[in-house]
Structures are given as C-alpha cells and as structure tokens.
C-alpha cells in the first residue's frame, strides 16, 4: 500500500515536471495527455487506497526526515485515513476531469504546456496538504497550493492593469498578487498556531498533538484554535479575507473550477475537520461557535452579492464562497462529517458548474457578462444540461430522500443549525438557500433562456468538443447521485470523525424543516424563472438603488481595502523611505559626517598662516592650559 501512497502523491509531480520540460516550447499535446494520464493514475491509486482504508484501515508512511533542530523533528510523513482519502479521491477525480477538460479548453493557448505544469503542480501540493501527517507538512501543501494558485490566477500575466471600473479584478497579475498576499496574512495565523502547538506539545504530528490536547490549558487551546482558524479563513476566503476569491476568476476557467471551487478553497474547511479534536474541546466551544456564525454570515453575505452580479464566473465564485460558509457552519457546530460530505458534494457540482461556465465562455469568445448572453440552450444543449443539473444540485433540490447531491448535504447542515438551537443561524441558512436557488437560476435563465442577445456582439457560439463533454459526465453523474451515498459515507468517515446525531426532536420534525428549505429553494427558482426566463428586462430604477449598488460593488469592500490598507500602506512606505530613511536616519549619519567636516573647515581657519597669530595662539594656549589645569585640579580634588 505504501507504494500506492507514493504513486498517488508523486504522479502529479512527475506530470508537472514533465510538462515543465516543455514549459517554454510551443504547444505540445503530449504534455496534456501525459499529465492527464498521470493524474488519472493518481486517482486510481487514491481510489484503491479508499477501498483499502475502508476495508483494512488507515495507512501511515514516513518517507524521510525534513527539519531537525533542537527538539523539533518534522518528517515527511503521509497519513491516508478516512479524511485524507476522501479528500484525495475528490481532488484527484476533479483534477482528472479538469485536466482532460483543459486539453480542450486551452487548445489555442500558446502557453499550453506551462498550464499543465502548473495545474499538476497544484494537484501535487494539494495532495501534500491533505496527506501530510503533521501540521508543518500540511503547511507545505498549504503554501504550495498558494503559489500554484498565484501562478494560475496570473496565468495570462501579459494582460495590462485596467481600472477597477472596467474590470473589478484589475488584471490577472494583480489578482494573483492579491490572492497570494491575503493568503499570506492568514498563513501567519496558521504559523502561529503551529508554534503554539509545538511549544506546548513538543511535536507537530497529528496523533501526538491530538493525544496531548486534554493536558493543555484552556488559554492555549483557544489560542491554537483561533490561530489555526485564521489560517483557514485565508485559504477558504472567509470574511474579511474574501475579496481575493472573486478576483481570482481572472485565471483560466479550469483553474477556477479546480482550485477556486473544488479543492484549494476547501482546504480551510479541511483543516478544521482535520483538527476536529481541537475544535471539539470544551474550552474552545465559543471559537467553534464563532466559526459557525462566521460561516453563516459569509453564506448570506456572499449570496447577496451573487444576486446582482453580471459576471458568469463571479456569480459562481460568490456561490462558492457562500457554500464554504455552509461548510464552516457545519464544522463549527460540530458536524464535521457533514461538512466533509458537503465539501465533497460541492466539489463535484461546483466544478461542473464552473466547467460549464468555461464552455459558455469558450463559446462566447471570452465574454462573461450574462446580460449579453441568452438563449444559448439551442446551441449548447449539453452544457445547458450540465449547468442545469449543477445548479439544481447547488440549490439543493430534492424531496423525501430523493434529490441532487446538494439536497442531502446542505439540508443536513441546515438541520444541524436547528438541532444546535442556533435558530438565528438556522434562519439565515434557510434564507440563504432561497437566495442560492435564485441567483443560480437567474444565471441559468439569463444564459440559456430568453432572447439571443449575443447576436449584438457578432458571436457565433458553438458547443464544446465532444470528448470534453464526455469527460464532464462523471461530475454530472456525481452531482446527481452523490447524495445517495450519504449514509454510506457517514458510516465510513465516522470511524475517524465524531459522529453527529440529531436530537429526537429534530429528527421528529426533520421533514418539516426539509420542506421549508425546499420551499425556499423552489421559491427562489420560481422567482428567477418569472423574472428572467423571457429574457432580460433591465430595471433602471432598481439598478440605481442604493442596495443594488452596494451589492454590485461588493459592499464597497475592495474599494475600502484599497483606500484604507493598500494606499495608506504605499503612502506610509514612501514616507518611510523618503522621509524617515533618507531624511532622518541617513541624514543623521551624513549629518554627523557633515558636522565633523564643517567643524574641520571652521577650525581650519585658525591656521591663518600668519606667524603672529601662531604665537598668540601659543600664548593663549598657555592661558588655556592654566584654565584647564585649574579645572583638572578641581576635578581631581573632587575625586578625592
């Protein structure tokens, strides 16, 4: 089994390096094929490991030592247990699909090879992240995915910076930097969490740390939990570190699907799930509650912004954000396995949604404004189908135990909120379910139904290549059927994760709750149908209203950040350099030099060259000596 672990882990790396060899040469389809194959191999290995874990149990391998200093010993160790194998399978599966998809999507890009190199490198990093058996190993992957995300968001680096009005993300390279830096802010929190654990436990191995938790004081537990969650907030784009995620849509769409929907952004949730022994501690219950509350807030917050957005990919990005909020809500409330389940299910339908959006974009020559689309279902039947399915899954449509993937996972989360007597959260989550359905179908209807507004642009849309559509089918299928494996999945992961049981009461009224949620969801869809099925009718008055503008400008948060952080930081930096460094610190140093020189110039004037003056100085010096002698005498008397 050990070899399988290594195959699963290193196959993507091999692919990445292989593609990197051709990184600077012209498009070579081989790279696409080889990397896709290697990712598929990795998927197969992961799947075998999955069954192995299910039947036999976890696999733990230790490759070699990494850092050894003082009492610190960090190995490269890999742990394949229920949590990680779930993640591995999901990651490699989605990755495989995305890789194959990219072969078609990136067809005309001159940096085809480079793209695959980055993409596979990302998969490798993600695998390290989920498979590592210690926190620092996780951090490797954590940073690795960050860099790959940076590379991939900025993939079209040659694009110019434009103003925020023209493109809210300014440029790919700008968005990439924003993502990286925001993640770094959170990473510092993560690092501090690691320090806290190291100095209080003496190790960073998961098993050792979790075993030692009961011995730690409350303060330390809280500090560690908070610090680690700050790390999670960055990677999972939770408020207030969320702005990078929508800007990250500047990257190629497969990237958005893989990294910014299915895998990387869920790493934060993964961390909380992985560290569930910590977050389940009694001492940190309010931290967990805060996580849940924040998650709920982000769910509705992101959903509200999605309501008015016109950018196909950004809508999906907001919805990702919103769904991440759901996951955190579940994890924060202690329903870790439900969070993990939603994570997996979400990965499937969200990736599908994104890839579908990619098809649309491909067809529309890169146009993303849904106001300029419409009626595409005629030419893009399959894509319409996929996106419809994904949207239904996202909206959580289903009834009485039959439904799309989202129905099972999201409903469960809402139920948990009710079960924990956090009725405020529950209310918000239910409301958000309605919003989710509305914006999902607003997008679907505006894109695929109604009048064909794209004619104005002179575009002739066409369906994506066949093999790409075939490649998407596993995701579509999973988006439909994944929910049915809920109980099986629960059984599988609760061997490791704490079980979560609904109370008697909740269980009793579960069907009412479910009905309520479905009512909201269906309500949202119906509303969207009424408003947008016939085509686009712009409501100028609404668009000028304060709320609409607030939402479409993302609550003015990016501008707020720019005005209160980026610009002041730049100004302060210039001040530090121009004024403090040059005019104070350096000027002081030079000032000392100048002072000495000026004194020298002044003193030099006494050297007049006139002998008479010299003689006077000599006699004067004698007097001076007398004076000094007197002082020195007094001094020495004083000393006695």
């Amino acid at each position: 089994m050990e070899n399988l672990v290594y195959i699963a882990l290193f196959a993507p790396l091999a692919g990445s390096l292989f593609a990197a060899l051709f990184g600077m040469s012209k498009k070579n389809i081989i790279t696409g094929i080889v990397t896709s194959t290697l990712i598929f191999i990795s998927f197969v290995a992961s799947a075998i490991l999955f069954s192995h874990v299910m039947t036999v149990g976890p696999v733990h391998v230790r490759m070699m030592d990494w850092i050894m200093a003082g009492d610190m010993l960090i190995p490269f160790g890999f742990l394949v247990d229920q949590i990680s194998v779930t993640m591995m399978t999901v990651v490699t599966l989605v990755s495989t699909v995305v890789h194959i998809y990219s072969n078609g999507y990136m067809d005309h890009d001159k940096s085809f090879n480079r793209f695959f190199s980055y993409l596979s490198a990302f998969v490798f990093s993600m695998m390290v992240l989920v498979m590592s058996d210690n926190f620092l190993g996780l951090f490797i992957g954590w940073e690795g995915v960050g860099v790959c995300s940076w590379l991939l968001i900025g993939f079209w680096y040659h694009k110019e910076d434009v103003s925020r009005e023209v493109n809210p993300s300014i440029s790919p390279s700008w968005a990439a930097n924003e993502a990286f830096i925001m993640n770094r802010i959170a990473d510092l929190g993560m690092l501090v969490g690691i320090f806290i654990l190291y100095w209080n436990v003496g190790s960073l191995q998961y098993d050792v740390v979790f075993a030692a938790l009961p011995n730690l004081s409350d303060g330390i537990l809280v500090a560690a939990a908070v610090a680690l969650f700050i790390g999670a907030m960055g990677k999972s784009a939770q408020f207030p570190l969320h702005t990078w995620l929508t800007d990250a849509m500047e990257g190629p769409t497969p990237v958005s699907a893989l990294i910014h929907a299915a895998t990387m952004v869920t790493a934060g949730v993964f961390l909380v799930i992985r560290a569930n022994p910590l977050y389940s501690m009694e001492a940190v219950h309010w931290v967990s509650y805060f996580i849940a509350a924040l998650g709920t807030f982000v769910a509705v917050f992101a959903a509200s912004m999605a309501l008015v957005n016109r950018d196909l990919k950004r809508i999906i990005a907001f919805s990702t954000l919103s769904q991440l909020g759901y996951m955190f809500a579940a994890a924060g409330l202690g329903a870790y396995w439900i969070a993990l389940f939603h994570l997996a299910a979400h990965a499937f339908f969200k990736a599908l949604l994104f890839l579908g959006a990619g098809n649309v974009m491909h067809a529309m020559d890169g146009e993303l404004d849904i106001f300029k689309m419409g009626g595409l279902k005629k030419v893009m039947r399959w894509t319409y189908l996929y996106m419809g399915v994904a949207s239904l899954a996202l909206s959580g449509i289903g009834i009485a135990g039959i439904g799309f993937a989202g129905y099972f996972s999201k409903d469960a989360i809402i139920e948990v909120a009710f079960n924990e007597h956090t009725y405020v959260l529950w209310t918000i989550l239910v409301l958000t379910a309605g919003l989710t359905a509305f914006y999902s179908f607003r997008q679907v209807f505006l894109t695929f139904h109604g009048n064909e507004r794209y004619h104005a642009l002179g575009i002739h849309p066409h369906e994506m290549y066949g093999y790409v559509l075939v490649a998407l089918s596993p995701l579509a299928i999973l988006a439909v059927v994944a929910g049915f494996y809920k109980d099986w999945f629960e059984h599988f992961v609760t061997k490791l994760l704490p079980e979560y049981h609904m109370s008697e009461h909740t269980h009793h009224i579960a069907w009412i709750l479910g009905l309520l949620v479905i009512a909201f969801a269906v309500g949202g869809i119906v509303l969207a149908y009424i408003k947008y099925n016939r085509g686009l009718k712009r409501n100028e008055k609404l668009e000028r209203s304060f709320v609409y503008r607030l939402l479409s400008n993302q609550y003015y948060i990016p501008i707020f950040y720019e005005k209160t952080i980026s610009k002041p930081y730049a100004a302060l930096s210039r001040f530090s350099w121009g004024t403090v460094d040059q005019k104070v610190v350096d000027a002081t140093v030079d000032g000392i030099g100048k002072f000495i020189k000026t004194t020298g110039d002044t003193t030099r004037k006494i050297q007049t060259g006139n002998l008479s003056d010299y003689l006077r100085w000599m006699a004067g010096g004698a007097l001076l000596l007398v004076a000094i002698a007197f002082v020195a005498f007094k001094l020495s008397q004083g000393a006695h």
């Binding site: 050297q607 060259g609 006139n610």
Partner: protein, 100 residues
Amino acid sequence: MIGLGHYLILSGILFSIGLVGVLRRKNLLMLFFATEIMLNAVNIAFAAISNHYHDMAGQMFAFFVIAVAASEVAVGLGLLVILYKKYGTLDLDAYTVMRG
C-alpha cells in the same frame, strides 16, 4: 632688603614684557629681541634661585642659556638674511603663503 621674591617678580615682569613683545611685534628682528628678553628674564631667575639654594646648577643653567641664546641668534639672523633677500621685508604678515 631685596629678597628672592623681588628677583622673581623682576624676572616675571621681564618675561611678560618679552612675551608681549613676541605677540605684538610684526618685525622679525624685534621679535628676536623680545625672545632674548624672555631668555634673560629666565637667567635672572636662575641666578637668584641658585643663590637662594646655594646651588650651582642654576648658574650653570643660566650660562648654558646664554650660550644657546647666542647660537640661536646666529641661526636666526642667518635666516633673516635669506628671508630679507627673498621677500624684501621682515614683516611677519608677508610670510603667509602656507595656511589652512
């Protein structure tokens, strides 16, 4: 009765006169004279103290001072001659090429 103190005061006064001469005079020759006064002031003091202590060293010192003063004048006058040839004046203010 004239005591040691009076001699020393005389010596001090002469020394001061010489010093003031050195400081005030601009003519080199005059300046040399002033230094001679200073040396002679010293000689008076040496002689007086020598007498006071009944110690011959002071007088010996005075003789040496006289001898040295003589040779100093010899060298000094030699210098003056060259300088006069070169600058045409003995005014100190003329010799200020080197400064700073």
